[in-house]
Symmetry: C2
Subunit: 390 residues, 2 copies
């Protein structure tokens, strides 16, 4: 089995709570929890609901109402994010494992196309198991592929062109030009099926089973913003969500939507999950999309987790719960904790600047002060500003 039974897992905390509240209490919950203006739930085409039921994935779509401006037309964009489990046992041939994921992905991407999604982002290392817990180099390094013409890119280029959709494809990248090094990379494919660039993960974890620094290094692509037909987008890959400066630089470079393709498990981070990507949306006045994989992945050989516990074969539970936050902090409920899913946000990118005008966070940011403070702080002889009690 690729993933173990998740029947004991709570399917959704968000749905559990709303099922227990009614009337004014439910309204207050929605106001305080999700934001005053709230999202509207969008209906899904019947054929699409049937497709989702047939292939056992969830579809949810939300609209973020935004005020019309006098001088700028609304810039309505449909964002889609996909969370999914692996499909094939991790001791099967690599091509088989990858093809299993491709096969299920076609259905979910088709559903996104049917709902007229413009920009779609998949989860981190979407076409492979998250095998870094094992610290084994083989066979896992063989999943690494060219950003330009690897199998994941080729598969998605065709779909991007067919559906006229920008697709962000987070993969394990092999850079043959520079020493055959491996990177954790997001490839951006435009609506014509052309790779327009890539971004490499800036911050690499060394925590629990996330031994990723064993496989790849801190990214060397800076903080690029991709100016696509549908808006200015950036990608903060996984562990980068713990770093406010990483989010900040994408904002400074003009991002209107920042995707956070991730892989994280319930024992480690679930209480942080609703906080960090949402905080980034608020602090930087842009949309954020937090995407996490689903299911428990099992590996052929035992590995330890650096926690003094016995060796074992299973990663923890990847809890899904992908969600979208608007620049004003309003957010959608999360997707399922246990099931594949497609989450759609219909947004007006004009909201980013409207929120900057209202909240004034960029105006009051005092970047000059911090450019100077940080330049001092990184010096080896830096003396922290400490005031003693006596």
């Amino acid at each position: 089995m690729a993933t173990s039974a998740t029947s004991s897992e709570l399917p959704s905390l968000d749905k559990l709570i709303t099922s227990r509240l009614t009337g004014n209490e439910l309204e207050e919950y929605n106001r305080i929890q999700y934001g005053k203006n709230k999202y509207d739930e969008l209906s899904i085409a019947k054929a699409n609901l049937e497709l989702a039921e047939k292939h056992n994935f969830e579809i949810a779509a939300y609209n973020f109402p935004t005020k019309n401006e006098e001088l700028r037309s609304a810039r309505i964009v449909k964002i889609g994010v996909i969370q999914h489990s692996i499909t094939t046992a991790t001791d099967k041939p690599i091509v088989e494992q990858r093809q299993g994921i491709f096969s299920k992905m076609i259905n979910i991407i088709e559903a996104a196309a049917n709902e007229n999604v413009n920009i779609l982002c998949l989860q981190e290392a979407w076409s492979m198991p998250f095998a870094f817990c094992t610290r084994e180099k083989y066979p896992w390094c063989e999943f690494a592929e060219s950003a330009i013409e690897g199998p994941s890119t080729m598969f998605l280029k065709e779909l991007a062109a067919r559906f006229g959709m920008v697709i962000i494809s987070p993969i394990l990248e092999r850079d043959e030009v520079h020493g055959d090094t491996i990177w954790n990379t997001a490839v951006v494919i435009n609506e014509s099926g052309k790779v327009i660039g890539k971004h490499r993960k800036n911050h690499i974890p060394r925590v629990g089973d996330f031994n990723e620094s064993t496989y790849y290094f801190e990214g060397n692509t800076g903080h690029p913003v991709f100016e696509t037909k549908f808006g200015k987008i950036a990608i903060n890959i996984c562990y980068g969500r713990h770093h406010p400066l990483n989010w900040l630089m994408f904002g400074i470079n003009g991002a209107e939507i920042v995707f956070n393709p991730s892989a994280t498990v319930s024992g480690l981070s679930e209480h942080l999950w609703p906080i960090e990507a949402r905080n980034a949306a608020i602090a930087n006045s842009y949309y954020t999309c937090a995407i996490n994989r689903v299911g428990t992945e099992k590996f052929p050989n035992e590995f330890t987790s650096g926690d003094g516990k016995l060796a074992h074969n299973e990663f923890g539970h990847f809890y899904g719960s992908s969600y979208i936050t608007a620049p004003d902090g309003v957010r959608t409920p999360g997707l399922s904790r246990v099931k594949d899913g497609l989450l759609i946000g219909k947004v007006d990118l004009n909201l980013c600047r409207q929120v900057k005008d209202k909240w004034g966070f960029t105006m009051t940011q005092r970047l000059n002060l911090y450019a100077e403070s940080l330049s001092n702080a990184v010096k080896n002889d830096y003396e922290p500003q400490i005031i003693h009690s006596n």
Copy 2:
């Protein structure tokens, strides 16, 4: 009336939800919402509960369990934060308004002393109404006082010495030495009743009724950390919580606890409230304490809110909901949305470094990269890193 009836306000969202869940569902809620390790609730001395009931305030106390280390002794500290409403009509003499708050504050501070609180922080501009909504300079500017020998400082110095407690007193400061300017300032008084320093609010809002830039300027005290008998503390005043760089610099300077004395109302920010101070604790591996005032304040003259609505006399509802977050992201439930309150956290400051060792956020921070990026970004001819689609 100083504050209007709040009977229509929900007293606590946290309590509402937990009252609707039991067994495994409640456990899952607590795990996902507050954090895996969770806090323990501490019992309050009976005499103190009676004191609280008599004076109509809430007391809640929580313990954050922390692992013992081999080489360092535990550094257990009791943190206290107080949220309160004003007591006297805002058209009464200033001395009367201030004395009304002093009188109620004595009881709450005594309760904190009875529970052996070591470090206590009051809310922003705690000894006055939050009158900046009016844009009137008088009488409100008369509340501004000397940080060293003003009435609020003198009142708290005596209590700090009597109870052997560090007290942080956020006031409106009058700086007579530098042009009689007014600042939004937190004064730090040590356990002997001595003022050891002050910090001035770094980021000033211009949003809704928070016309604070009409009264005072962005602070000029940098990011001081106060090394007290009970640990290294800092103060991020109110609107500074929207600025991750502000939180960051207190962390870089070594803060173990950062207080966020605030004043904010439900229509504006309530969906952001559980996010920002908690995110800061996670990102910087320190404790944060978010403190908000309580009640609806009414002013003698009508004012407008810059939202096209009619002139009115009442500020929105200050929703309290003060809470404490540990460096691992575990947090307490919030205090009441409608009532004065004392929130106590029993913490081991050793947890800060333990979390840095575990999560590695400081190690993986790449400050050099960001010092350089920000230094470039603040140049007037900065060219954002944009990759075009074609």
